[in-house]
């Protein structure tokens, strides 16, 4: 009896240790970049994980820079626009997939699957050429468009998984009361699906916020250059010195808000991320 309880206690201990290890695994690189951003310039090469003394100098440098605030503004604008423009058609399409029977259903699902597997490097070149011809190169719209197309599958999956959880009886009741399918979507489903819409919006936003390939290929100036590109191409006061501290500070500024958002909405995000793959 005592042997059993001590074995169980050992198991619990192992479990806690494993969980601590997972948390450390997930957070260590974040802690490292925060630590770098707080180090004094003279301490950058000290080979330590934690700063010896804390300074906010790097954050001041980042916001006094010309590139970074512009990039931040571009990122916020482009990602928000892409989010709105992607989630609305995705909600229509997801409703059609879940609730209506029409021959295009399979085409839509197959198309979404194909695009989710699509290699973006294969379209960045043609888009580069097209955008220059159409005057979309180095503009917000030039990035919003590819982000919308590439995030639609994710948004459609997330939303259709969510719509499926809303009882069909509600639709039927509305239909019996004489509502058209569109009115049903607008007045019955959409309000109930608000958490699903929100989840899809966050996932789309993160995709657009994270993208580097399109942002580096389809922009060239401050007009539309987004945060990942600005951070990757950060140059210091002299071009031979990589401003590690400033890069770290800029990274923290753009990372923390997203992390807070994700952690606050973790349950929805997890169900959204796994919607397409497991249930569906």
């Amino acid at each position: 009896m005592t042997g059993r309880t001590s074995a169980r206690r050992l198991g619990m201990l192992g479990e806690s240790a494993a969980m601590l290890a997972v948390v450390a695994y997930a957070l260590a690189p974040l802690a490292w970049i925060v630590s770098l951003s707080l180090k004094r310039p003279g301490d950058l090469n000290d080979g330590r994980f934690l700063p010896q003394a804390v300074t906010l100098e790097n954050y001041r440098a980042v916001f006094n820079d010309v590139q970074f605030p512009a990039a931040l503004w571009n990122s916020i604008g482009i990602a928000s626009m892409a989010t709105v423009v992607s989630v609305v058609p995705a909600a229509f399409a997801a409703y059609a997939i879940v609730r209506l029977s029409f021959p295009g259903r399979r085409l839509l699902l197959a198309g979404a699957l194909a695009i989710a597997m699509f290699p973006p490097a294969a379209i960045v070149g043609p888009l580069f050429n097209l955008w220059r011809a159409l005057g979309l190169f180095d503009t917000w719209l030039g990035l919003v468009l590819p982000y919308v197309s590439l995030t639609l599958p994710l948004a459609i999956w997330t939303l259709s998984a969510y719509f499926r959880t809303i009882p069909r009886d509600l639709d039927q009741a509305a239909r019996v009361d004489g509502a058209t399918p569109f009115q049903t979507l607008r007045y019955v489903i959409a309000p109930l699906a608000a958490p699903g819409l929100f989840t899809a919006a966050i996932l789309v936003f993160i995709f657009a916020w994270n993208d580097f390939l399109f942002a580096t290929a389809l922009t060239s100036t401050r007009a539309a250059r987004t945060v990942p590109v600005a951070i990757a191409f950060f140059t210091g006061s002299s071009q031979f010195e990589l401003p590690t501290g400033a890069i770290a500070a800029a990274s923290v500024v753009v990372t923390l808000p997203v992390i807070v958002l994700v952690v606050l909405c973790q349950r929805h995000i997890v169900s959204g991320l796994t919607a397409g793959a497991v249930k569906g």
């Binding site: 330590r48 580097f212 990942p228 990757a232 793959a277």
Partner: protein, 289 residues
């Protein structure tokens, strides 16, 4: 067909049309355009030399060692990172599934790598392994210049990828685990099956469709790897991947003909991988949908 059925059909088309058009506009059209461009000599630096060359661009890509090296590098990074992620992700999923306390904390913290911009993650790892700003050498007592040698550069790139994407794998697998009926596990336990036997005989077979989907998603995602390699080595030390070759040819060297051939070939590689997967796991994918 009833009037109502027809109306439903019409509405279905109308509701899905915007999404279909948006998806096709920025993918189907550019890929068709890329294929068209790939049949021409078309270098923006020498516009006057433009002309139809048929399959010549494909011949020069496929006969160049750069393409094959990049393909090998890409497949190497993909295989190594997906394999480790599957094992690590499965362990994390089992842990979260079993855990009674602290499950929320673990789940919240593993969302952090997912939420971090890939460029930022790549820089964090690069700085950590850097001989001047980093702490890894001091920690291990080494004098290694990680990103300037091929194999150690691969190690850093793959480690970054694993760190960033294992959480996604773990969450997909966790969702699959929750679908396994508790009764089965309990019955097996009553029959005296050990934890290992239960894992091998019940959990793994029932998880097959989920594992197939997770591996497929991550493989196709890993094949596109661009950000991490670009930030950490820019393809130096012979670490160039397919996406980097396409980017360099198209955007840096402005050779649209040759670059489009590379793009079309990447598309073929991805399609082949997806096709291979669907052939071997086709049934299980159907079942899980």
């Amino acid at each position: 067909m009833t009037e109502r059925g027809r109306a439903e059909r019409r509405l279905g088309w109308w509701l899905s049309a915007p999404a279909l058009v948006a998806m096709a506009l920025v993918t189907v059209y550019p890929i068709a355009y890329a294929f068209w461009l790939s049949l021409f000599r078309h270098d923006l630096r020498f516009p006057e030399q433009r002309g139809f060359v048929g399959w010549a661009n494909y011949a020069s890509v496929l006969s160049s060692p750069v393409w094959w090296q990049a393909l090998t590098n890409t497949l190497l990074i993909t295989a190594a990172s997906v394999a480790v992620e599957l094992v690590l992700g499965f362990a994390m999923a089992l842990l979260m599934h079993r855990a009674t306390v602290g499950r929320r904390t673990v789940r919240a913290s593993i969302l952090v790598p997912y939420a971090i911009i890939t460029v930022v993650a790549a820089l964090a790892w690069k700085f950590a392994f850097d001989p001047t700003t980093g702490f890894v050498n001091a920690l291990l007592g080494l004098q290694q210049s990680w990103l300037t040698e091929r194999w150690s550069a691969f190690l850093v790139i793959i480690a970054t990828e694993i760190w960033k994407t294992t959480p996604f794998m773990a969450l997909l697998l966790l969702a699959g685990l929750t679908l396994i009926p508790e009764d089965l596990q309990r019955a097996a336990r009553v029959d005296g099956a050990s934890a290992w036997q239960r894992l091998r005989r019940i959990t793994l077979p029932l998880m097959k469709p989920t594992i197939a989907v997770a591996v497929l998603f991550r493989t196709l995602d890993a094949v596109r790897i661009f950000d991490t390699v670009y930030v950490q080595t820019r393809g130096g030390q012979n670490t160039e991947t397919l996406s980097l070759v396409a980017y360099d040819t198209l955007i840096v060297r402005l050779n649209l003909g040759l670059g489009s051939a590379v793009a079309a070939l990447i598309f073929v590689v991805v399609a082949l991988i997806a096709w291979g997967f669907l052939r071997s796991f086709g049934v299980s994918l159907e079942e899980s949908r």
